[in-house]
Amino acid sequence: MSLSLSIAGKAQFVAYPALIAANFVNSSDVDSSILIEFIDDKTVDSESNAGVKLTTAEGKTLTEQAEILAYFAEKFPGVVPEQAKNEEWTKFALDKLYVKNFKELATDLEKLDAHLNFRSFVLGYNYTTADIAVWGVLRANALMGSILKNGVYTNVSRWYSLLADDKRFESAIEFMTKGLNELRKASKSAKTGGKKETHKA
């Protein structure tokens, strides 16, 4: 079974949720892995407008994160756990939380913060794709850094930090940053005639 996920690093909405879900599969002991490819551009290829693309084991192409998360949850139950009502929060994350308008974002963060008053996870008592979706989108949103640091939404900050401490979340992001840096280095050296850059003393 061969699965490959392509992610555009300069996309308007970087597909961290799909990346984290793939990392859940790759760091589990299930007998298959997902090939992850990074593209240093706004889209994954010139034909499509998509910032993310999954080629499934069945040869289908998925370019919507909601579909990709649902596919992983169906294909790898127990690894990428899904629960009923997940879709509502996944949709909420993908539709609302990428927004770069502070006022709009604040309204939805208040909703999430209220939801997390008596909840340690978005749904139930362990990770689900809803956590992966919400965390991944917030991680991709440049407005979130200072909001989280200042603890404006106490419950959101607590929940976010729990997941950030799990190696499958933050390390997926580090993996991508590293991958993109290597691509940039390679393309730079190709432009300078393939010569390796040397450090000047």
């Binding site: 008596f118 340690s120 200042n150 404006v152 607590r158 729990l162 401490d165």
Partner: protein
């Protein structure tokens, strides 16, 4: 941690005091300090001061020792459950919301509590948002 939760065989309240630390991941020095600090504090949960300290700690961390579960969660939970079961006014629920959130997590992951003794939590109750001072 996700695997730990899904594979954990819940302990009964009676088994809590004899539970082994090795059921949980190893703690860092800082986490160990928090764990023993709050186990000591849990003997004084009749004092409001102790409850406020516990609630404050659980505001920023999911478990007693930080972002990792430990035996301290079980020990403190056993002591906190009878106290928390008495909270019913919206004021109390708002004031101790983080203890309630955590206790509900523990009784659904690590400790088996008989139905009638469980902390009843209405997850959707509306509370005023906590504003950081």
């Amino acid at each position: 941690m996700a695997d730990l939760i899904s594979k954990f065989t819940k302990l009964s309240l009676k088994e809590v005091s004899s539970a082994k630390d090795s059921l949980f991941p190893e703690l860092s020095a800082e986490q160990k300090a928090l764990s023993s600090q709050f186990q000591t504090l849990s003997t004084r949960l009749d004092e409001d001061e102790s409850l406020i300290a516990l609630n404050n700690a659980l505001r920023t961390q999911t478990f007693i020792a930080g972002n990792v579960p430990s035996k301290a969660d079980l020990v403190v939970f056993e002591k906190a459950l009878p106290v928390a079961s008495k909270w019913s006014s919206t004021d109390d629920l708002a004031k101790y919301r983080h203890i309630i959130r955590w206790a509900d997590l523990i009784q659904n992951t690590f400790v088996e509590v008989p139905q009638e003794e469980q902390l009843k939590v209405n997850h959707n109750i509306e509370l005023p948002r906590e504003i950081k001072e």
